[in-house]
Every structure is written in C-alpha cells, then in structure tokens.
C-alpha cells in the first residue's frame, strides 16, 4: 500500500470529537481494559455529538490535523434523544464539502460507538490511523484552501424544521 512519496515515519495527527456519554466512555473503557492502540488520535470531549459544529472539523484541518474522527452514540441511543441524528446530517454535508476541496474521504469519519464498545474504539482508531498513514500528510495547499474559504457561507446550516429534512442528509 505504502506510496514511495510517503515518508515511512509519517505519524498522522488525528483529532477526534467524542460525545461524553457513549464514545468518550467507550474510550475510557478501552483504557481501563488496557487495550493498546495507535497514539495518533487526540480526543476532544463534548456532551453530545449534536454539538459537533462543522467549523470544528475545518478548524482541526486548518490547525494541522491530518484527519478528523467523530464519535457518538448509536442511533436511538442518544443521551439527548436525537443529537446524533443531527451529527449524521451535518457529517454527510461536511464530507461532501471537504471532498469538493480535494480532501480525501478517508480523512473524515463518523462512528457510532456505545459506552460498552471499548474494542470498537481500538479497532476504529487503528484502522483510521493505518488508512491516513497510507494517504500521507494533508498538503499545505489544501489547508490553505480551508483558511481562505468562507466557511460559514459554504456550509449552510443544514437544520431546518424536522419535517423538511426527513429522508436523509446528503
């Protein structure tokens, strides 16, 4: 897989946003169970995946992240009823936007990880780290693009009244 242009020692930096109740707890569980995984992911905690603002993702890329991982409760399990559905809708839009800027699909990922799924945290982080390592660092040009883009205009807030958004996100 490894590309000759990719430095062998490239260690990607991945910023993760985890919700407090499911995925952050699962990451704690992975720790308590001493599951070993790649050290490339740095977690920022919010109370709910509903708090994940697309701007956070762009900011992470801008500030030097090679990838962004989002983690929330499984559908139907949100501690705040449906914040994760909001996260999902934003995710699809956000990924499309990033792709349009030439940022590869594998650099942004959304996973549902329940509080009991420590092993899934381990698996997800290992998989993602390997995938991003294969992609290599995010180029400076693309980061620069994110600097210049008028993001608030580009990402029209996807929410409107629930009835209008029924039927999917992308």
């Amino acid at each position: 897989m490894s590309d000759s242009t990719t430095p062998q020692n490239f260690e990607p930096r991945i910023v993760a946003f985890f919700c407090n109740w499911c995925t952050y707890t699962a990451a704690d569980l992975a720790g308590t169970a001493r599951m070993k995984y790649a050290a490339n992911v740095r977690v920022i905690r919010t109370m709910c995946s509903g708090r994940f603002d697309p701007q956070f993702v762009f900011a992470a890329f801008r500030e030097g992240a090679d990838a962004v991982l989002l983690g929330g409760c499984h559908p139907g399990d949100c501690h705040y009823m449906e914040g994760n559905y909001k996260a999902l809708r934003r995710f699809f839009l956000m990924r499309r936007f990033l792709e349009s800027m030439g940022i590869e699909r594998d650099r942004i990922r959304l996973e549902w990880i329940a509080a009991s799924e420590g092993d899934k945290v381990q698996r997800t982080i290992n998989d993602m780290t390997a995938a991003v390592r294969a992609l290599g660092p995010l180029s400076m040009e693309k980061r620069a693009l994110l600097h210049s883009a008028d993001l608030s205009a580009a990402i029209d807030k996807p929410e409107s009244r629930p009835a209008a958004t029924k039927g999917g996100a992308a």
Binding site: Y24, G31, K36, R51, E63, G83, S152, E159, R161
Partner: protein
C-alpha cells in the same frame, strides 16, 4: 453569563501532572510533560505529584490558589468521568471557581492504551496544551439547585425490588412498586430451597411479599408496566400502563371461588408460573401465595372474551361482584424524584443448543422446570417424575448451558454452579437416583458456598469435569437402550465417556430480559455488550447509572444470586435515600444561553431542541433559552449560524482553543 475572558485578573494557569503511582508514569514521561507545561503561555505553575487525587495532592493545588499563584487549574491525570468532581471541588475549596478547571486525560486515553513511551509522552503533551489553551477562556459559573421529589418508583417486584421497596418505605418514603406480572415475587417465588443454607424460599420470601402489600407507604401496581418517563433527576414524570385484570383489585378477597366456578372444569392453558409443566384456567391466580391475592382473567383464552356467550359463572359466584369484564387499560401518571430498576433476568432458551435435545427428548428439562418440580407447592407436589410418570434412577445435571460460550453468551452466569449443587442435593434426597454433575469449573465463591460443595462431594454425587458435548438417544450398548446418553470428555482422566441417564437437567444461564433494550431506552440508560444495564462504575458506583437519579438493583445489572441481589437492592435504596434526604440536586452548568443581540431570527434552534427549552421572543426578536429546561447537549449551539447561541463549558471559543492547543505544539 458570558464566556469571555474572565474578570478574575490575567489568566494564571497551574498545571498538575499526576503519576498515578506508575499507572501514568510507567508510560508517560511525567517530568518532560511538566517541563513542557511550564513553557506554555499563561502557565505560572507546573508541578508533578504521585497521586493528585489524594489529600496532599489536592492540597498542592489549593495552596497555589491561596498563594495567588494561579487562578485557573489544569490537572493531567485520569478521565474527567473519574475525578473531575474531585478536582473541581478542590479548586473551589482553594478559593477558586470550580469551573475554572480543566482536566487532561492522560491515563485512560494515553498511558493505558499506548505501548510506545515517546508517542505516549507526545500525546500527553498535546492533551495538556489543549487543556491549558482552553482553560484560559473559562469563566466562573454557578450551579443551579433543583429540589428533589421525595417519592420513589421501583420497577420490578422480584426479591431485589421488594427489598428496595421495603427499605425505602421503612425510611418513611412513599414508594410506587410496579410489576409486570399479576403477582410480585419474581423468580425467587418459584424456587423450593435456596443455596447454600437450603432454607425454604417461600418461608423467607412470602413474609416480605405480604409486608409490601400491607405497607402504608407502598403503592403496589402489579400487572402494570412503565409506559413513558420524562423529566430528570429529582423530578421524573412516569406514566404507568395498568393492564386490566377484569377483576377489581379493591373488591377481590382472594377466596378463589371464581376459579372453581369457571365453566372450564379442567385447566387447559399452560401455566406460566409453572413454566408450562401444568395447566391453569382462563381465570387464575399464579400461585397460592400470590401478592396481591387477586384473580386475573386471561382474555386470550376466556370464553366470554372470545364468544361473548359465556354464562359467566365466575361473576355469578363472586359475592363481592369483583369480576368486571368491562375493565380497560388505565394510564397512571406519577411524579417521583428517583427510580430504582429491578427488572431481573430471563433464563437461557435451551432449544438454542440443538445438541442437548431440549424440546426433542421428553426427559431433558431446564433447571427452572426442575425447580418447580422439586417444589412441594409445584405441579408435581415435589415429586421428581419422568415424562412417563416413573422416578428417574439416574440424572445428569449439565452446567454452563448458554454460558461461557461464544455461540450463546460468553459470560459466566455465576449462579448455576451453586443452584446445580442444590438441585443435585434435592434430586438425591427425593429420588435416590445416581446424580452426575458435568461442569467446566466449579465456581463457588461466597459465604458458605465452598462448604456446600464440600458437602455435596460427600453425598455420593458424581462430578465429571467436562462440558457435555451431546445428549442423544442412540445406544452403543445394552445399558444405553431407552436412555439418554451423555457424551463428554472426563477431562481429569483424559477419556471420553458415555453415560446413560433417565433424566437430564440443563443448568441454563441468566440473560437480560427480552425487552431490556426497550426498557433502558425508556429510562435513558446504557447496556453492556451482553445487554445488562450498565452501572456508572463497576466498582465505585455499581448501583448508579449514567442517568442521575436512576439506580439499579438485582440481576438486571448482571447475573446475581439472592444474597447479592438483596445487598444491591439495599445499596440502591441507600443511594436513593441519600438523594432524597439531601433535598436538592445541583445541575451541571453546561446549559446553553443566547447572546440575543447576535440572533438573526432564523428559528433554526427552536425546532431543534428536544426539550422545548428554546422559544422565540417576538419582542426581543431573538431566541431565548430556558436554563431550567435545557439539558446541555449543545445541539442548538452547533446549528446557530450567527453564533448567538453558546453553551457554558463548551463555548465555540473554548473548543476552538482546545483544537488549536491540541495541534499547536506536538
């Protein structure tokens, strides 16, 4: 309240890196992290210490606060879910505001999960930098207090629910006890004897059941289920669906004349309480000590419900006119401050292991069926009989059916070894049969348990160490003809044995209730992988959940025997009492607020809030947040195009700073 840089003077951040013994220090270079922290902007103090959470550790922080060296605190140690409360308190005690604090999780997220020391240290540094750059933008906050409703709801009327209810009621609290079945008592009411003392289950349980019935502080709702839960700790609203029994509970005196009078002269319907080993009539009580002792009509089988042409002899004979075919489902709504879930377990469905022949061979029984069989009040009046009515001369008890197996349940069901020993004893006592126990490991930890095993070893019971491979009716030799043959490796001898027996008892494991997933959603709690309700912390908060005010008792949290269920029920009651007697709860101040002047009146947030906490104020032309209703998810904040909405502790600025910090240095 604003999250702008506080008025608390220029930011002076103290960073405290914890060794956690060697838990962190073994993998993370604590000294390097401390030196790194000292180099960060606004950091005025950076220290390391063996155990930051200990009294002396907290004292270090407090002293620095008192000395005016710092006005913001970062502790790099374990998960905030573990000790955030501890350090916030320490910060407050030292004279700071509890929320001018941030934690960096370098144990669960770093030292315990990383092999490489260098990478672990780098990751720890990044997390510390993130916390520092964020805490600079923290603002002092106050917690709101809300009163706690003193009533409690207990869901499930097995031994755990009963014990919790009596404990709470005896402490003077009003208790609603909700039970799905027509009677309380749960699984324990089905057993004949209890291990390891062999005292009679009914003798110790029925007095508690009638105490529930007569207790002035307990409202007992049997044949009822929780339909809906709303609200939050201290202030839950619960809707309970009360199914119609078609017998008025307040009129029925439990004479049971109606049952005798039913036009069905013989019982035809499989009796749920006797796990199908006997039959009941459409009008019935589950068992003679049922509490409340009130008959129930099963509309699925009652002639009146099916044809409307029954002569209703049950109603005719009732002197209290208690029979009421017109009853309908009722919804009762109550307010309570706390909830204890004691919804119990179900036994493993033995048909799932085809090799054991349950459902195929008449003389293969589950342990629960045999519990009923050996019960003097059971379907056979305590006699152990084969399908043809004869007494078995040999019995095999097969352990670990549906437990310790990747194809069914990986976990050990914990109670089966002991109840198998108990059944071995009872079967020996009742039938004088040869009794074989087939086990993988004999698990008897508990007071008096190993002694009980020792006793059985002396009772001429055979013990074969090996998991039974298959049970079948093909005979290889004369002795096996007409019998069930167990094929198993006697692992202690290293030889495969074939043992013909008359009867097989499958010691089925414990599983979460079939609807555990629906129930946990109703109460907004989590389940473990296997489907058991998840406790807040396996050791330090075993009866709490991640939802404040909802507690767990008994086997709904994991397989448990009677002593453990009762102990846990007591613990859950104590937690609920502590909550009630404190009288109030302090809420996390992580609610949303609106900077009204920035609101662009798009209304997006109003429709998004699942709690209806946001309204649009037409005079101010701005969205406003009702802090009492807001639960602090932050969904509205992420959706606000103008940045008018912000969330305390999670403002845009704080999170952007955290992102910058986590990437800037390492």
């Amino acid at each position: 309240m604003s999250a702008e840089m506080s008025t608390n003077g220029a930011p002076k951040v103290g960073v405290y890196v914890c060794h956690c013994g060697i838990n962190i220090a073994h993998t993370v270079d604590v000294n390097a992290c401390t030196a790194f922290a000292a180099s960060l902007p606004y950091v005025t103090v950076a220290r390391e210490y063996k155990f930051m959470c200990s009294d002396p550790g907290q004292e270090i922080i407090q002293q620095d606060l008192r000395d005016g060296k710092i006005n913001r605190v970062v502790v790099a140690s374990c998960s905030p879910l573990m000790h955030e409360g501890t350090f916030r308190k320490a910060t407050a005690v030292g004279g700071g505001n509890a929320f001018m604090f941030q934690m960096a999780n370098i144990r669960e997220h770093v030292s315990w999960v990383t092999l490489d020391k260098e990478m672990a240290t780098d990751k720890a540094k990044a997390l510390i930098a993130a916390a520092v750059s964020r805490v600079v933008h923290h603002a002092p906050l106050v917690r709101n207090r809300v009163p706690v409703h003193p009533d409690v709801m207990i869901v499930g009327g097995g031994i755990a629910g009963i014990h919790a209810a009596l404990t709470m009621a005896d402490a003077g609290k009003k208790v609603y006890l909700v039970e799905r079945e027509p009677t309380i008592g749960g699984h324990m009411a089905k057993f004949d004897k209890t291990f390891p003392t062999l005292d009679c289950s009914a003798c110790i349980l029925t007095p508690k059941m009638s105490a529930v019935r007569s207790h002035p502080n307990i409202t007992l709702w049997t044949y009822s289920e929780v339909a809906e839960v709303s609200g939050f700790v201290g202030n839950f609203k619960v809707k309970v669906r009360r199914k119609p029994r078609y017998v008025k509970e307040d009129q029925c005196v439990g004479c049971l004349d109606c049952i005798d009078a039913c036009i069905y002269k013989t019982a035809k319907v499989p009796d749920e309480f006797n796990v199908g080993l006997s039959k009941r009539k459409p009008i019935y009580v589950p068992f003679p000590q049922a509490t409340p002792l009130v008959a129930v009509i099963d509309p699925e089988t009652c002639i009146e419900f099916k044809t409307h042409r029954c002569k209703k002899s049950c109603a005719e004979v009732c002197q209290k006119d208690a029979i009421d075919f017109t009853q309908t489902e009722q919804i009762a709504e109550v307010e309570v401050g706390s909830i204890i879930l004691a919804t119990g377990f179900k036994t493993f469905d033995a048909t799932r292991i085809a090799r054991y022949g349950y459902g195929k061979y008449a003389n293969v029984y589950t342990s629960l069926e045999v519990e009923r069989m050996v019960n003097a009040a059971g379907p056979t009046a305590g006699e152990v009989k084969l399908a043809d009515g004869s007494k078995p001369k040999s019995v095999a008890i097969v352990h670990c059916v549906g437990s310790r197996d990747a194809h069914t349940n990986r976990y050990c069901s914990r109670v089966c070894c002991m109840y198998s020993l108990k059944l071995a004893h009872l079967l020996k006592e009742r039938t004088e049969a040869e009794v074989y126990n087939f086990y993988i490991d004999m698990r008897t930890p508990g007071k008096g348990y190993e002694e009980f095993y020792d006793r059985l070893l002396q009772e001429n019971v055979h013990f074969v160490r090996g998991r039974v491979a298959e049970i079948s009716d093909w005979a290889m030799e004369k002795q096996e003809e007409g019998k069930l043959t167990i094929r198993v490796e006697d692992t202690l001898v290293g030889v495969v044995r074939r043992i013909p027996v008359d009867m097989v008892v499958l010691s089925v494991g414990l599983e979460p209730q079939a609807d555990a997933d629906d129930v946990r959603r109703k109460f907004n709690i989590s389940c473990s992988h296997e489907g058991w309700f998840l406790e807040r912390h396996p050791k330090l908060a075993p009866v709490s959940t991640f939802t404040d005010g909802v507690f767990l008792a008994g086997a709904c949290q994991g397989p448990k025997d009677i002593p453990d269920s009762v102990a846990q029920a007591g613990a859950a009651a104590a937690e609920a009492l502590a909550l009630i007697d404190r009288g109030y709860v302090e809420l996390e101040p992580n609610t949303a607020y609106s900077r009204e002047e920035l609101c662009s009146s798009c209304h997006t947030c109003v429709a998004l809030c699942p709690y209806g906490a946001i309204t649009f104020d037409t005079t101010k032309h701005a969205a406003v947040v009702n802090g009492a209703l807001c639960k602090g998810c932050g969904t509205c904040v992420a959706s606000c195009p103008s940045g008018a909405l912000q969330q305390n502790l999670f403002t845009d600025e704080q999170i952007f700073e955290e992102i910058k910090g986590v990437l800037k240095y390492v």
